[in-house]
């Protein structure tokens, strides 16, 4: 076991994937010499060369579009989109090409492309650097959408995404890049939790609290605080946003009877809406309260001096838990 930041764990996972498979490439803006603006690819170009760690021209559509071509040629490209708000120029390539090629080709073509996107707010950034665009991709059939929340998962999930034969949109919680955890970098990922499974990170009996990416830590802190008041919250890290692991979610809600979903993305038409609908359908007779959601507002991401109001924090999450418990 080694203590690593989430950023370093991703770096170790990428390194491992590149060592294990010579077809794995990394491409993006500033990923080479600089090592990425968050240093996630630090040192990789030095060790694997400029042909495998490619500093690209500044064109997101081309990063994904050429990755598709490289995948058609048998490579496994890992694209870095520098910031969440920069992914939109690549939307056509992701949604119309990457996601649909297997279907279009009736299974003749696989595109094992991983697209890494640092996401979410909380770092005091300027506009376009704090967004949560995951639902645009979760809504698109043909893509797998995942989000890691801790260093151990970051290490395993990035390797699982790269070896997955489907395109994977991989969200990294940027304000958690510096969070440390124990990571077993010596182990393979064969025994790791499958990429499409959610994980119960804290057992509880009164309320099921669902989160992913940056808010998993916030939810854990909320649950620990609630414990002082004698309330037992079960926290689940969804990990996979598409597909959703409804089995794990429903099993928990059937026990607790209450469910709160938290995410940074706007509540409106967010993942919480999909979960609420499915939980209602699958756990109707076990529910003691409606499924409640806490998240961003239906506004553009605000200037950073206001982001603490926008981002769900411990108090807003516990407020939702209180409301769910009040029924």
């Amino acid at each position: 076991m080694t203590t690593l930041t989430l950023s370093k764990a991703l770096n170790a996972g990428l390194r491992k994937a590149m060592e294990n498979d010579p077809k794995v490439l990394i491409m993006g803006e500033d990923v080479g010499k600089l090592g990425g603006v968050f240093r996630v690819t630090d040192g990789l170009q030095k060790d694997f060369g400029e042909d495998r760690v490619i500093d690209t021209p500044l064109a997101e559509s081309a990063i994904v579009g050429t990755a598709i071509g490289l995948a058609l040629r048998g490579f496994r490209p890992v694209c870095e989109i520098q910031f969440d708000g920069f992914v939109y120029p690549a939307t056509n390539q992701i949604v119309s090409q990457l996601a649909k090629m297997r279907y279009r080709s009736r299974g003749n073509v696989s595109l094992p492309v991983t697209i890494r996107i640092p996401c979410g707010g909380g770092i005091g950034a300027v506009e376009h650097h704090s967004e949560s665009p995951e639902m645009m991709f979760a809504h698109t059939a043909g893509l797998r959408v995942v989000a890691c929340a801790d260093a151990a998962d970051a290490f395993a999930m990035i390797q699982q995404s790269i070896s997955c034969d489907d395109p994977v949109i991989f969200f990294e919680p940027k304000r958690r890049y510096w969070d440390k955890a124990e990571v077993d970098t010596g182990s393979g990922v064969t025994h790791a939790l499958p990429l499409d499974r959610a994980k119960v990170v804290l057992d509880g009996t009164d309320v099921t609290l669902l989160a992913y990416g940056p808010l998993v830590r916030t939810c854990l802190e909320s649950a620990l605080a609630a414990r002082q008041d004698g309330r037992s919250i079960e926290v689940i890290d969804l990990r996979s946003l598409s597909p959703l692991d409804m089995e794990t979610i429903s099993a928990s809600v059937r026990r607790t009877g209450r469910c709160v979903v938290a995410h940074e993305a706007p509540v409106y038409a967010g993942l919480g809406a999909e979960i609420a609908a499915r939980v209602t359908e699958q756990c109707f007779y076990h529910l003691e309260a409606p499924v409640l959601r806490v998240g961003g507002f239906h506004t553009p991401y605000p200037p950073s001096r206001l982001e603490d109001h926008y981002l769900p924090d411990l108090d807003r999450i516990l407020d939702a838990v209180d409301r769910a418990s009040g029924y």
Binding site: G65, G69, R73, N92, R102, R106, D166
Partner: protein, 370 residues
């Protein structure tokens, strides 16, 4: 504001066969083809035109949802298509029926797409011919990436170098961001890719002047690689320039932009009505530059083909037409649950659930005896 446009000037046009069927020499493109080679090109030109005509009729009769005609662009497609090695990789638009023919794709596969039976469905690697791409220009980036893959496989340059990539697109696509990004990338990475632009003068209703103020081939210079303009209705010239550009790419000299100056003699697709936006006289002028007639005139005048040859090609065209017509009309719809196939390598839990629910819903009709 109206601007003067030089986009349509025809100076610097590479031509080896005039519209009258006269063979002319070009210092940069010496070409030594046998009579059999040229007859084979003629055969391809006639057959793909026939396939196209048949497809239009099938659409008119309700057998196809839509068809994008290649009428007028046969030489650009057969000339460039025949210049490729079996190892070269092609990235087409949705109108490259002639190139598809050169790559051994059964035209019935193309009809499947336009009938609505599949979105394509051939194996791109088997034919080295990627799926039709409908979003304008997107495939130029795939082509560039694929070419970067050839580089990483160490397959560029050297004696055994036998593969490069060709990306097809139209004049309208040159305004797309993806196409310009592909130019930047191909140039910066010196990727073995040839950009083959069929400038057919019209992007549905928009004339070339809406896309460019300079001849398209001149744009290549700004990106740092050579560009040239070829008579797109001249199958020999299209063959020669493509062969040379592909060879340069295979040898490691990077990309070339080829502007095949041609004309979309038909509508954009069967849903389009060109009488709303262009003059009949323009079409009449281009008919005089027909890509097939000039080859026929050349073969006849030089005694490289007998009347029996032309009769045999016509008979074969008829046969091909009849075959694809029959295949189209008897083509079954896919079974309903095929909707759920091939979305992911393995169906996800969400997809499995939807499939099961829909199957049960369909079964409920059977049980109810409806």
């Amino acid at each position: 504001m109206t601007v003067e446009s030089g986009a349509a000037t025809t100076d610097q046009l590479v031509q080896l066969l005039t519209p009258e069927g006269e063979r002319i020499e070009h210092p940069d493109y010496p070409l030594d083809l046998s009579a059999a080679d040229i007859r084979a090109m003629y055969r391809d030109l006639v057959l793909v035109r026939r396939i196209d005509t048949e497809a239009i009729s099938l659409q008119r009769q309700g057998e196809l949802g839509i068809w994008a005609s290649l009428l007028g662009q046969e030489a650009a497609q057969i000339g460039s298509g025949r210049a490729l090695t079996l190892d070269d990789m092609v990235f087409p638009t949705y109108r490259e029926h002639g190139v598809a023919w050169c790559r051994g794709i059964d035209p019935v596969k193309l009809l499947e797409l336009y009938r609505g039976v599949s979105h394509g469905g051939w194996d791109p690697e088997e034919h080295k011919f990627h799926l039709y791409t409908i979003v304008i220009g997107s495939q130029t980036l795939h082509a560039t990436g694929y070419a970067m893959g050839i580089q990483r496989d160490g397959a560029v340059g050297g004696d055994s170098a036998n593969e490069a990539v060709i990306a097809y697109f139209g004049d309208g696509a040159t305004s797309q961001g993806d196409v310009n990004e592909a130019f930047v990338w191909a140039s910066v990475f010196n990727a073995p890719v040839v950009f083959f632009c069929q400038n057919n003068q019209w992007a549905i209703s928009e004339p070339l002047e809406k896309q460019s103020r300079i001849p398209l081939y001149q744009r290549a210079r700004g990106f740092g690689f050579p560009g040239l303009r070829v008579d797109g209705n001249d199958v020999l010239a299209c063959y020669a320039v493509t062969q040379k550009a592909m060879q340069a790419a295979r040898e490691g000299q990077g990309p070339t932009f080829i502007e095949a100056f041609t004309y979309r003699m038909g509508a954009h697709t069967t849903t389009d009505d060109p009488t709303r936006y262009r003059l009949a006289s323009e079409l009449e002028a281009w008919k005089l530059k027909d890509p097939i007639e000039r080859v026929r005139a050349y073969l006849v005048r030089t005694g490289q083909a007998e009347p029996e040859f032309f009769a045999a090609v016509d008979a074969e065209a008829k046969e091909v037409g009849a075959r694809i017509r029959e295949a189209c009309r008897t083509m079954p719809d896919p079974p309903p649950l095929a909707i759920f196939d091939n979305v992911y390598a393995e169906p996800t839990s969400i997809l499995r659930e939807e499939r099961e629910q829909y199957a049960a819903y369909l079964d409920s009709f059977e049980e109810a005896g409806r």
